[in-house]
Symmetry: C2
Subunit: 419 residues, 2 copies
């Protein structure tokens, strides 16, 4: 594995930065009084690639693509364009680059910028591809004997989510109202959600469109990059609504993503294999090589005014199905895929209790509340809680990180129909 | 109820036209060598409103909105803009209009144009709000005792569909491949769908965005218009994949819509009430007035080279939940709604066997094949079949019609991975 690539941006050579030269993730930023535009994180700075493009120092082609508030136009250029641009960025930012003097004025300190959605989400699909998560949830709802649905070992199970609810890290999340009915109630009530939860996921972004079925290898080639993803979930709304057509309003309040798209190119050194198959997959789902990534993941929860406690630690390599397998399955019906489609991995849980990616699992349905530093405990999220997902692939003397994916829970509206 | 409004476009005064002056539906058309743009159907003509706008004869505001291949920019103007434009169109086209001479050059015969998608679908949600359909399907799958799920009389059950698969009438539909496994099979196979079906639905188009929960009245005010919708469904794929998260690839091959958006304004005279409630609805779902429409619907099936047989006739007023109720429910979680969101009503079936809106119901799961004129019969769709949905509200001496929503079934690919 390659080691840290040295940059003349000194902070990028810190072994603990999320954004060394090896990474170069793509985001959309603005500064006070300026419009949102494309930027690349390097150490503790953002490189204003829209500015470089305007000055003719860096280009991805004609017409210009970086002055917009999304990376979709760049994605449309396709894998060759992606590769060429990444090589050009590397050349500009590496130690000894003769371009340093012209590039340096376009570095903006990260702590002075505001981050925006890095891309326009065409459609959002959420999967259920973590075996520990599916087993945990299935055990709670159907008993250990029937934990995994019969199709689970054959299909990367997924459902269509709501693209309009995807928001960038840092956006507050309002506790939803919804229909609630526990088994002992005669009829449902309309009330604020009482079991509001997180789901620790990775999101894969489709950068190449397709019109018909694609193989797993072709699907992998279509993926542009990855983000951290928190699929906020209203467990009590879901329990009452989800039969027979799946989750709907329980998942439509918000889905938070980290502001930086870590490219597939940056993650290449961290490829690893999905777990051994318990049942042989149909040929269209078989992987021609390692298709998942070794990415350490962590969740912290900070009560209002309190300090963050690490409530879960796991790894993306726990997934039974890779994003490439999910995308290949997504196309089997002929479903057209578009640039900007977002695929959520499904909740990522390890085998151990501390490795579970949702409070539903961590508190075992509320029966074993999670202890927080400072003495509080949580079965589900409370108003004012700040949730943060963190993730990084670890190389030799460097890390390829995602930045934080954070969100604060706001109290439910007093009266949702008052405006 | 008002009668037929007289137009100087003679064919618009025919009591059997779908497009009298009372209707004025919105579509996107092109002629040989010209770009797709906005048009309005009147009798057997299309009024080129992009041309009228360019000439300064008709305007909906600044910047121009009609030269694009979608009505989204017009929808963005909001209900006041919609009302003003409709009034202006009426004035131009009514008998005696002094503008006739200037407008007439912008009429293009309907039979010379090609129709395109009338709007950009932001997201697509499909509901399950027909009680007869839900009861029929539930009876087949779970027995008559458990036909309706416990939540059905309380929630307009819906799931997110796939916007990229929505296509305009006239587009061929390729029979999909997918994972199939009947209960007696040991493991699934990957094969072409054997139980390909239609679903007769209406689609409601959201024309006003929202950020938080809206009332049923507000939801109704947000709806721009309606189309016919055929939610093509692979029953065998669905049966194996849909637990626990709902339909996914079974519904992602194609959803066809009629090319003309019939505005809510044109349908006003045909408002009627949803059926009496078996269980009282929660206050947020109660309708302040009649919210469904009296629209006759019909489905025909023509085998390859054969004549069409009417296989079903029903009415939109069979729905238990209106589009306004569905949209209000859709927003309860805070789910943001956007201009161009499409809501499928769910399959519309009447109480009688001949009134069922899917072959699944018409053939009772394949046990009672449907007889076609000419001697053929159908349990599910066969390659080459042409399916057509028709719909019209009937006034005194006129009809407000939707035009046809049609699609032909192409055979499955020999090898979906050959390219």
């Amino acid at each position: 594995m390659t080691g840290l690539r040295q940059s003349w941006v000194e902070s990028a050579n810190d072994p603990e930065t999320d954004f060394p030269l090896n990474n170069l993730p793509y985001g959309v930023f603005s500064t006070e009084g300026s419009a949102p535009r494309c930027g690349v994180a390097i150490g503790d700075m953002v490189l204003d690639v829209a500015g470089l493009e305007a000055e003719g120092i860096l280009s991805a082609g004609d017409p210009p693509v970086f002055s917009r508030p999304s990376w979709n136009a760049f994605m449309e250029l396709g894998p060759e364009g992606w590769t060429g641009f990444r090589a050009a960025l590397m050349a500009l930012l590496k130690t000894g680059s003769p371009m340093r003097g012209r590039v340096e004025p376009f570095l903006v300190p990260l702590d002075t910028v505001r981050m925006h959605m890095p891309f326009d989400v065409a459609e959002y699909t959420d999967f259920y591809a973590g075996r520990n998560h599916a087993t945990n949830v299935g055990t709670m709802f159907r008993g250990a004997e029937n934990a995994l649905p019969p199709n689970w070992l054959h299909i990367p199970i997924g459902y269509n989510g709501r693209a309009s609810s995807v928001m960038v890290s840092g956006t507050d999340v309002r506790r939803p109202w919804g229909q609630l009915k526990s088994p002992e109630m005669e009829a449902p009530v309309f009330a604020p959600c009482k079991r509001f939860d997180l789901e620790l996921e990775m999101g894969a972004i489709v950068g190449v469109p397709s019109q018909g079925p694609v193989s797993v290898q072709e699907a992998d080639d279509m993926i542009f990059g990855y983000v951290l993803l928190n699929d906020w979930s209203a467990r009590d709304i879901q329990a009452w609504e989800y039969q027979p057509l799946g989750p709907f309003q329980a998942k439509a309040t918000a889905t938070s993503i980290s502001p930086w798209i870590v490219t597939k190119a940056a993650l290449e050194p961290f490829r690893t294999s999905t777990p051994a198959r318990e049942k042989e997959l149909l040929p269209y789902l078989r992987e021609p090589g390692p298709m998942i990534y070794d990415i350490d993941l962590m969740v912290t929860l900070a009560p209002e005014g309190g300090v963050p406690t690490v409530i879960a630690e796991t790894n993306y390599n726990e997934m039974y199905y890779s994003a490439a397998q999910q995308l290949a399955h997504h196309t089997t019906s002929g479903c057209p895929m578009r640039v900007g489609d977002l695929l959520g991995s499904g909740t990522i849980s390890g085998a151990e209790p501390r490795q579970r990616g949702s409070l539903l699992e961590l508190s075992w349905g509320g029966k074993e509340p999670v202890a927080l530093d400072g003495g509080a405990e949580r079965s589900f999220l409370e108003d004012g809680d700040v949730l943060t997902l963190l993730g990084a692939a670890r190389g030799d003397g460097f890390r390829v990180g995602f930045g934080a994916c954070t969100g604060r829970v706001l109290p439910a509206l007093d009266d949702p129909y008052a405006r």
